[in-house]
Symmetry: C2
Subunit: 608 residues, 2 copies
């Protein structure tokens, strides 16, 4: 199975709008904030003790992700000014790279004596992000300087970590380099980078050296608790976890390694079946930004980091290449349209690091200390964080969203997602005309199929679909409807898109007696700005009687549905006196919450 | 207002049964486990480094509370064998007390060089409990040796902490000595003990010395965040908090200190109105065994320590002496019959330290590590804990339960609680014939009233009551019905006792959409042993249609009520498909839970 990459896809509709905002607002904003905070200047290696804006251990990666976003953007939409900024950074990297190939701002400028001694300090994580950026920039522009610099760095890393085994640890404390090395291998064809990736993945959970490190935290926290092929449950820091699983899937595909694939399948199920918010958010606690226990999915203190949800989508996309089951694209879709998109404001200027499923401002105010202790549990998006991994991550994610659309082999073209778009790859052309995710109708036209079938993903949320206006009577396998096509032609697909109520497994204590309103792939929420009562006093009616209306700013439908309002009371406890008055409840897409000032917000609403 | 102490009250009925079990089983069991673990032998001061059973910093207090339980028990029911055990301990205390009066096992035997250096290590807490025990034992037996030893110790403490101010800290890290000093003052009439109590209370939150201590944790954790008269919210470790508030109330009463009384009222409301489980449990997190935020009352990870609930009842009892409002006796009643009583098994042999409002065994099993990290979140009572404060605390509490019954002044006798009992004090005799808490009828007969009225508490749970078979048409003030009596006579009071459903304030997220079934002062729960389905699949019907039947072993009624069973499902999320089948639900009193083997348990049940 082959991937169709974003550069083969011209976006329209919903995603073109997001791409344009990303280019016009997000990329410049992130650049400005990273400039203000000294992240770009740090590449000059001029910081001295006592000066402000001391370089931080992960600043290299922040800028790298921004460069990656620029690379994807200029691929689709050339921009010489943006390129010039990147070229400037690359020149500084060249200037300041060690003769041995080493490049890390913090460990050159601030703690040169401690190079490769502390596995928890993101040194190899930065190397990974710089490499991803270098590959992307080379593919976008053909300029190979950055790529060569990073190859030199990776060669040095090979020497230190593999040939000489002279570093103080064996496996990175924060995964990232593993998947970057696969990209470097794909780009250069040099097998040693694939071997390096496999080395870092296989060393995991088997190295005494890591455990003896004074910086060792816990086995499960950074996924060194066992060899990867034995893993059953997604554990620890959720971004680290899904980046590792991405690399494992990459290796399984390229090496035909079935034991690695089996582990990936188990880990995916551990997330999708037991540890994922309905929004595609993962990692339910701020304490360690990590997975906790199965079904432990609290809503108001949900961590659900933007980066983790992006990572989950990236993992799911890789799994689609390994196993033709629609569950992967379903989960990717959930993460993309809900948790990940919520990570950026509609304007493109502000970001959430943490994406709660409930905001109660009164509780926040009363217990400010408690919420602040739980890092970054904010009620409004901000332009930059001290730990600002999420803003450039969502920027590179949106810029390359076309990556998700298709995969193909000699027999079949898989249509995983429905985007207004034109794609061209390997002689095949596919046009999608659709208002998805707002409408379920998709008009596909295609040519150059060369005898291949189309496999249309039937979204997991869809209860009824038609092909060319009729019930589909062909073969459906693992969530894909297989349609025999001529070399060229047209197909109209229609996925019935209605408002529906979703319940969580009763094991999820936080959601008992509650439902989430969904429409198509979008999860909805109620905001107090639309419903001026305590949101936990609202109950939705199972009859719904929903009406939708299009909101230009959200570029999506809002929903009004039947429900009830329960009376409040002052005492801590009182005799139960149900006091339900009928009232309509307004819902907006979750991705659009907190775009109209501070407001209470609730995804899981009580049901009567 | 004067207290009528337990020694003036002869118990019958419900509490006589509990008193007998306490004497026959609990006191010997706690003795045996404390002997096994070396707590009694520790008083020999013979432990040497390298030997097992190293004395722990709070072992003095464990044994002291056991002695207190014995003292109260032998007051009502003489027992020379028990006295002999106490006399043996007292002899060891005499033998091993320092010439200066100091007595502490750990800081004499294990760390003699560190006396009075670490305020978090319970040294003054132990002194307090030993003093409470000495006072109780003197009053029970007339033997004054123990009392004199503790007076000598307190005189030494006065010298070190007040006269010379030579200790490394000023206020105890765990309150207890403050209320013990008031008891010592009451017993001996020596005003300096009252002054010492006031000193320790007044120094709180004003001493730089405490903050500079290397053992300082946080201001709020041990209630040193501000001077006590400024306190508004109950904060920090919940047992420490309520012990402090007890001392504040004691001082307010004896000193006529209204600013202290106002603070007590605010702190009481902070607990009763915003931070208390329906069972009278307080302190909602195991992390620090402490109060968290208003309305943060999770059920499955409730900490709700037995000692804290006992402390709340003790605080409430003191408040009844200061302010004739029935809310204090209401809260005391709630704590007594629910959280505190749940702290001991029906057999009297096993104990809960932590009293959850929900047990889900499957979740416990899956997430054992998580629950173990949260200390002592057990699903079954055990005979002893490493930190075994609760078992002797519940023993002394039950032995002196008569303390709660009455207070009086020249005009009025307040009947705060309804126990089958005969009381005699100050020439007054009051007989109560009642099956309370199982039935609401109380036949009171009295003599020697000397012109006093009776003030009958109308329980907060009661919606309808009658006096002598008729609606009460007299004066009711702050929850007490004032009845003019002759010098002697009879009154029949009847509080209508029905099963009822109680709702929590919607701010309590954990209880939204749920109700608790209550009957009289008893909170009920459902156990899976009676209802063999996942308890969160059950919904109670507001119509209830309840039937009760008496359970001999529980010495209380069980209840069956109408409800529904919701279907389970395997996926993490699915379309909402309500699937309610009618079924009766069985409830038992909360205090009786976990007495029939391991079982899921639920107080707050979904309501349809």
């Amino acid at each position: 199975m082959q991937a169709v990459t974003f550069d083969r896809v011209k976006l329209g509709g919903f995603w073109k709008n997001r791409f344009d905002i990303n280019k016009a607002v997000t990329i410049p904003t992130v650049y400005d904030r990273f400039s203000d905070t000294g992240r770009f200047d740090a590449f000059k290696f001029e910081w001295k003790e006592g000066q402000p804006k001391k370089p931080h251990i992960f600043w290299d990666s922040d800028v790298a992700k921004w460069i990656e976003a620029v690379a994807y953007t200029v691929t689709l939409c050339p921009d010489k000014e943006l390129e010039a900024v990147v070229d400037g950074v690359v020149d500084l990297i060249e200037k300041n790279q060690g003769d041995d190939g080493y490049f890390n701002i913090y460990y050159t400028v601030c703690e040169p004596e401690n190079r490769f001694t502390n596995r928890m300090q993101h040194e190899l994580y930065c190397a990974g992000h710089l490499t991803e950026a270098a590959v992307a920039y080379y593919k976008a522009t053909g300029k190979d300087k950055f790529l060569r610099l990073m190859q030199k760095y990776m060669d040095y890393i090979e020497k230190v970590f593999i040939i000489e085994d002279s570093a103080s640890f064996n496996t990175p404390g924060h995964e990232e380099i593993e998947l970057a090395l696969v990209k470097l291998y794909d780009c250069t064809g040099e097998k040693k980078y694939l071997d390096m990736s496999r080395h870092f993945v296989d060393t995991r959970g088997t190295s005494k050296k890591d455990e003896d490190s004074p910086y060792y935290i816990s086995h499960a926290y950074d996924q060194t608790h066992m060899p990867v092929r034995e893993m059953k449950d997604a554990t620890g820091h959720s971004v680290r976890a899904v980046y590792l699983y991405c690399a494992m899937a990459d290796l399984a595909l390229r090496l035909g390694d079935n034991s690695l694939l089996d582990a990936c399948k188990r880990l995916f199920r551990s997330i999708a079946d037991r540890q994922m918010y309905i929004t595609g958010g993962i990692g339910s606690t701020a304490y360690g930004e990590r997975f906790t226990e199965d079904y432990d999915l609290p809503n108001d203190v949900a961590y659900s980091e933007t980066c983790a949800s992006i990572g989950l989508a990236l993992f799911a996309r890789r799994m689609s290449l390994l196993d033709s089951d629609s569950v992967y694209a379903d989960i990717a879709e959930t993460a993309i349209y809900n948790c990940a998109l919520a990570g950026v404001s509609l304007s493109g200027r502000e970001f959430f690091y943490v994406n709660p499923l409930e905001i109660n401002l009164e509780r926040h105010r009363k217990n400010r200390e408690y919420y602040q202790r739980r890092d970054n549990l904010l009620t409004q998006r901000v332009e930059v964080f001290d730990c600002s991994c999420c803003p450039p991550n969502i920027a590179r994610f949106i810029a390359s969203i076309g990556d998700f659309l298709y995969t193909y082999d000699e027999n079949t073209v898989y249509v995983h997602h429905y985007f207004e778009s034109e794609a061209e790859f390997d002689g095949i052309k596919i046009l999608q005309k659709t208002e998805y995710p707002n409408e379920g109708e998709v008009a596909l036209s295609f040519s150059g199929m060369g005898g291949r079938r189309l496999a249309l993903r039937i979204p997991g949320w869809c209860r009824e679909f038609k092909v060319n206006g009729k019930s589909f009577d062909g073969k459906t396998v693992k969530g894909y409807a297989f349609v025999e096509t001529g070399d060229s032609g047209k197909i109209d697909v229609s996925f019935k898109m209605e408002c529906r109520l979703v319940a969580a497994n009763p094991e999820v204590e936080a959601d008992i007696g509650r439902v989430a309103l969904c429409r198509g792939p979008l999860v909805y929420c109620a905001e107090r700005v639309d419903n001026p009562v305590p949101l936990n006093n609202l109950l939705v009616s199972p009859e719904l009687n929903a009406s939708v209306s299009f909101d230009e700013k959200m570029n999506a439908y809002t929903v009004e549905a039947d429900g009830f309002e329960d009376g409040s009371f002052d005492a801590l406890y009182r005799d139960y006196k149900p006091d339900f008055k009928p009232r309509r409840i307004k819902f907006i897409p979750y991705f659009a919450f907190a775009n109209r000032g501070e407001s209470d917000m609730l995804v899981w609403i009580r049901v009567k």
